[in-house]
Amino acid sequence: MNLFGLIEEIEKVDPEFQDRISPRRDAIKNITSFGSKVAVAALPFAFSTLFKKAYGQTATPTVNDVLNYALKLEYLEAAFYNAGVASTLGFSATEKAYLVTIQGHENAHVAFLKSVLGSAAVAQSTQGTNGIYDFTAQGTFPTVLTNVDTYFAVAQAFEDTGVRAYKGQAGFLAGNQVVLTAALSIHSVEARHASAVRYIRRLRGATTTKPWISGANDTGITAVNGNYAGEDNLIQGGVNITSLTGVSGNFSTAIATQCFDEPLTSAQVVALVGPFGVK
């Protein structure tokens, strides 16, 4: 099979074909290395997967769609931590250090995604009102930039939601060594952030908050119920985790929900971050 001859033919009909399957022209190399590693007999399968990704149901996003979706969320998070660090909120020195670390990562993620997307990257100025977000989410969190506890509660919701958002996109990037691996590697950093913010909240007195998510919405803030919808799922791959035996009897519902994080669809996430100004 002449893979590249075929791609050229497709490009005559659809000039954006390469963008559909990979974000940058040089990323096409990824296909070469992927192809060289699979048996020739498996190529038709690999190629059909590629086509399914490129031209599948309208609900299937392109790689660029996924990356721009991620970029919009990173823009929001970066701006949120930039605002928090620049604010006069009374963080302790330790808390401030945590925030500065997270701030650095979110801004690095923005830079990384923009560099991968190149000219296809969504501009930050298209978000919010001329690039300015409403961190109160249209009045839901009026004290977000004046009350430390509110600030951390919103931070936790952002991080946990970010983890869920990346997780929900993994399937669209299956087999793509470069892009999937990068997405997974951001995804786990968001989880580190979520753990750290939850730990700070625990130290600040939210004693039922653990670094991991217990059941559906363990924050005690009903305004973020949607951010945790489905986290109380007990069934993984057809196995009910509470039917399994641990060290002392069957796993509790709390443990069963803590040990697996759940995804959110892009539609769910967009609805959740819309009030902050994400477009």
């Binding site: 989880a191 991991w212 399994l244």
Partner: protein, 239 residues
């Protein structure tokens, strides 16, 4: 199966010495279990008749999703065994808070292990015998350093192997687990040094977690395993 039940029921106050003696009994039980499945699954897993020896090495098998899931199963077995011992013999000076959260982590890892065992069914590799003789479980410093290494390695392993998973349902399951490992890693790191939850020993300059290949990860994991794990179809054979 017997082995896990035995280890899991270990008295929390059991001294380290008796745990080690007890681990030996567990190894014998694994042998019985492995023997019963020898004839049936040898070929699939590429194991030699040496499997009759409970400590003989295992291979994650032919290239494909089952191999990657068995790779994850092997890592979860190792993590579970580690935290079972941590909870059974708490280090000197452990706080109620630390004990509670480390016990949570133990349960998460045991749940991951049991999940993979149930999901893989007859395709699962056998139970592995760990060897933690290099770790002083009474030392907070040593236990947390080992925990950090296990968690960070787990994150690099899942992130590094994700692209090898073809079935998107399995990929999602791996994603559901890796973020929990990352939560553990961050918590352990903050116990060691507040604010080190994602420092540049874990992340690259772009703010991405580092990744490792199957060969790199198994080389590390095998230093804590009596039962060596190989991935001959992914370019790694335990020495």
């Amino acid at each position: 199966m017997k082995t896990e039940t035995l280890i899991e029921n270990a008295d929390v106050n059991m001294a380290r010495r008796s745990f080690l003696r007890y681990a030996g009994a567990g190894a014998a039980a694994v042998g019985v279990l492995a023997a019963s499945s020898c004839s049936k699954f040898d070929d699939y897993k590429g194991n030699s008749p040496a499997i009759m020896n409970p400590n003989a090495g295992v291979d994650i098998g032919a290239k494909g999703d089952l191999a990657i899931l068995n790779y994850a199963y092997a890592l979860e077995q190792l993590e579970a065994a580690f935290y079972i011992q941590v909870a059974a013999t708490p280090y000197t000076g452990i706080t109620t808070e630390e004990n509670a959260l480390l016990t949570d982590i133990r349960d998460h890892e045991v749940a991951h292990r049991e999940f993979f065992k149930a999901a893989l069914g007859t395709n699962a590799i056998k139970g592995l015998t760990p060897n933690f003789s290099a770790i002083n479980f009474s030392s907070r410093t040593e236990v947390l350093a080992a925990a950090k290494a296990f968690e960070d390695t787990g994150v690099t392993a899942y992130n590094g192997a994700g692209y090898l998973i073809q079935n998107t349902d399995y990929l999602l399951l791996a994603g559901k687990i890796v973020s929990v490992e990352a939560r553990h890693a961050a918590y352990i790191r903050n116990l060691i040094a507040p604010g080190s939850f994602a420092d540049n020993t874990a992340l690259d300059a772009n703010g991405l977690d580092k990744t490792q290949t199957i060969a790199q990860v198994l080389a590390i994991a095998n230093t804590y395993l009596t039962t060596k794990v190989s991935a001959s179809n992914y370019g790694y054979v335990a020495s």
